[in-house]
Symmetry: C2
Subunit: 193 residues, 2 copies
DNA sequence: CGTTGGCTTGAGAGGGCTCAAGGCCAGTGG
DNA sequence: CCACTGGCCTTGAGCCCTCTCAAGCCAACG
């Protein structure tokens, strides 16, 4: 059950996981299932866990005054999902996270965080993904201030082609910060070329 | 000389700095001056140091095919500046960093990184700012996909009012992802209200 | 006192948005 | 088995925000 997590950690840290580490992880995480459309987190709540996706797909988004959803993140297998700001600073989240497909996760409750941060390989992994996160976010910022919608779409296509398979177009459009109509037109123009 | 750095670390970690820690930092960092417009990093180079700004202001930006600058980050006193991706992964940077004012920094060369990561308070600070970085980047992404230019400008004004004092308008405009003309019009409309 | 850098203003163009309608499945219930 | 529905994608028309290009103003500075 935890093997995908063990693998994930191993590939992201030079320190190997000992059997004791694995046992500690076993005790720290909780297996959990979500049906499609079920919420992992609702805005206003404090995010009490980080979730490692074993199977399925989730979206993280805000809803503005006019009811429009703005997709902050899309996540699939072998991703950690949760609102890091809310989790670490214990402030109410501005995000909703829900399952887009039936999803299975390993939940790491904050109350168990100290168990796992004591594991060197886990700490190393965490530093790693923190870094990747902020680098990825920077790239997205750079794209949004310097590139037109079409280029951003192409970049997403080459970075995360799975997204186009697993999520409908209007979700991807929102992730890119454009409307579904615009994305549709971009795609039809791209085909002509 | 290093006092601002010591203070910075102290306010961002629960572990206090010992005298030995301070001595270690003393050995790890190098004081350096940059004149206005001088480069701390040029794109294509590998970023070999992180720089703690004691005095002055810097910009981090890319230049596109048409010669337009796109400002990724603006930094002033008590900020760490450098391209984290290039620094940690040792890949050529896509950014330029230059001094917008005459600037003094404490340079932390990568070859000395292991000295300081051994300092608990420093490691804690680093985790902290990594987190802040990725949270801030996320907010900027959210703004760019969900808010019009005017709102983003107002947010910047309330978050970092110093920026408007220290950097000319066309730099701030680029940071916001709009042209200087648009920012000028936004401001003049805001005054009318 | 000319030059340079920064800010503003205007006119026209364009990319993306909104609103609206229509088409295409896949699932569901009669 | 078929009609209906809901989710998704497309297309069109008009509009608005922002960009581009261009001109002019002002303050700082050598």
């Amino acid at each position: 059950m935890l093997d995908p997590l063990f693998n994930y950690i191993s590939t992201r840290s030079r320190t190997p996981l000992t059997d004791a580490d694995k046992a500690a992880l076993q005790n720290a995480v909780v297996f959990k299932r979500y049906k499609k459309k079920q919420f992992l987190l609702q805005d206003g709540d404090i995010c009490k866990s980080l979730n490692f996706i074993l199977k399925g797909a989730t979206r993280q988004y805000t809803v503005d005054e006019r009811g429009n959803e703005h997709i902050m993140a899309l996540s699939i297998e072998n991703w950690w999902v949760g609102d890091r700001e809310s989790y670490f600073r214990e402030v109410p989240s501005v995000y909703n996270i829900d399952a887009w497909e039936d999803t299975e996760v390993l939940m790491l409750p904050k109350v168990h965080l100290n168990i796992v941060t004591a594991i060197p390989a886990f700490a190393e992994m965490r530093m790693n993904i923190d870094q990747n996160h902020s680098i990825a976010a920077q790239k997205r910022v750079l794209g949004s201030i310097s590139q037109p919608a079409e280029k951003r779409y192409e970049d997403l296509l080459s970075s995360y082609p799975e997204f186009m398979q697993r999520f409908p177009q209007h979700i991807v459009a929102s992730y890119l910060g454009i409307t579904k109509e615009t994305l549709s037109r971009i795609k039809s123009q791209a085909v002509k070329k």
